[in-house]
C-alpha cells in the first residue's frame, strides 16, 4: 500500500489560515489501511481544526467527505456539484490522489494534509515498512523475494558492501543489510546459484529516469 504520515497541525493551520470554509477529504484506499487518511482520520482532523480555529476566534466551516478512492475519476465526479461552494480542499489522501483531484477541479485550491511516504507493508499494527520503490524492472525471482533496490540503502546489485556488519546496515542500527537478507534467504531456498545470475548492471530507464511514467493497457481501453 501507499503509506503516509500526518502533517503537523501547525502546518495545516497555516495552510488553511486564509479560508473560512473548506472540505476535508479522505480516501478509503491505502491511507485508510495505514490509518492516516480514512473516514475516522477525516473526523478527527476536522474536529481538531475546528477547535483550534474557534479557540483563536476565527470560525471554520468544514464539510467532511471520504471518497472510495481519490485516484480514480469516477469517485471524484460526485464532488463536482458542491466543490466550488468551498474555498479549498484539504485532502488526506496520498500525493497521487491530491494531484488527481487538483487536475479535475481547476478552480479549487488543494492542500495536502499528509506527507506521502512509501510503498510498504504493515509489519505489525501501527508499524509500516518500505518494500518496493517501483523501479519498473522486478528481480525478486533472483533475489529470494527480497528487493535489493529497496532493502539495500545503496540499491546495489552485487552483494553487500563494506558497511554491512553482522547483518546490520551502516546507515542505522535498526536497518538490516538487504543483501545479507537476500543471501540468507537464497541459502534457505537452496537457490544460491541465482546470486550469479544477477545482471551485470541495472538499467534505470524503467524507473524514474525517464520522467513521470505511464502504463497503457490496450486490452483495457
Amino acid at each position: 500500500m501507499i503509506t503516509g504520515t500526518p502533517k503537523p497541525i501547525e502546518e495545516i493551520l497555516e495552510m488553511i489560515e486564509p479560508y473560512d470554509n473548506i472540505i476535508v477529504a479522505g480516501c478509503f484506499g491505502c491511507v485508510t489501511v495505514c490509518r492516516v487518511g480514512g473516514d475516522k482520520e477525516v473526523q478527527v482532523l476536522a474536529s481538531t481544526l475546528k477547535l483550534a480555529r474557534e479557540a483563536s476566534g476565527k470560525k471554520l466551516e468544514i464539510k467532511e467527505v471520504c471518497l472510495e478512492r481519490q485516484c480514480d475519476p469516477e469517485f471524484l465526479e460526485p464532488m463536482r456539484p458542491y466543490i466550488e461552494d468551498y474555498q479549498a480542499v484539504l485532502s488526506i489522501a496520498c500525493g497521487a490522489g491530491i494531484q488527481f483531484m487538483a487536475e479535475k477541479f481547476m478552480k479549487t485550491p488543494l492542500l495536502p494534509g499528509i506527507n506521502t511516504g512509501f510503498l510498504g507493508v504493515t509489519e505489525r499494527q501501527g508499524e509500516w515498512a518500505e518494500r518496493c520503490q517501483g523501479c519498473g524492472d522486478c528481480v525478486l525471482h533472483l533475489t529470494g523475494g527480497i528487493c535489493p533496490v529497496t532493502r539495500c540503502a545503496k540499491s546495489i546489485f552485487h552483494g553487500p558492501c563494506g558497511g554491512s556488519v553482522d547483518g546490520i546496515c551502516e546507515v542505522a542500527k535498526d536497518v538490516k543489510c538487504g543483501w545479507q537478507l537476500i543471501i540468507d534467504r537464497l541459502k534457505a531456498l537452496d537457490q544460491m546459484e541465482n546470486y550469479g545470475k544477477l545482471k551485470p548492471y541495472k538499467g534505470w530507464d524503467a524507473s524514474r529516469d525517464g520522467g513521470p511514467r505511464r502504463i497503457i493497457r490496450e486490452d483495457m481501453i
Partner: protein, 90 residues
C-alpha cells in the same frame, strides 16, 4: 478523565495499554492546538478502589479548576457577547 483497568489486569488483555496510547494522542492534539494538554488525563484503577477513584477525581477537578476556562469556552463567550452587543446597537 479516562479510567482504565490496572495494567496487566484488563479483560481485553492489552485494551487499557492501547487506550493509554489513544489518550496520549489526544493529549498531543490538544497541546498542538494550544487548548491545553492537561485537560485530559488517564488513570488506572480496579473496580474495588472507590476511595482512590474519589481521590483521583478530586485531583483532576483541582487540575481543571487551576487551568481556568478552556480557550474554546472563552472564544464562544466572547462571540456570544459580541453578537448581543450588535443586536443592542441595532
Amino acid at each position: 478523565m479516562v479510567i482504565g483497568c490496572l495494567e496487566g489486569d484488563c479483560h481485553y488483555v492489552n485494551g487499557n495499554i492501547r487506550a493509554r496510547s489513544r489518550v496520549k494522542r489526544v493529549y498531543n492534539i490538544l497541546e498542538q492546538i494550544k487548548i491545553g494538554p492537561d485537560r485530559i488525563r488517564m488513570y488506572n484503577l480496579s473496580a474495588g478502589e472507590g476511595a482512590k477513584f474519589a481521590a483521583f477525581t478530586n485531583e483532576f477537578v483541582d487540575q481543571i479548576e487551576n487551568l481556568g476556562p478552556s480557550p474554546i469556552n472563552v472564544a464562544r463567550k466572547n462571540a456570544a457577547s459580541e453578537s448581543v452587543q450588535e443586536v443592542q446597537a441595532t
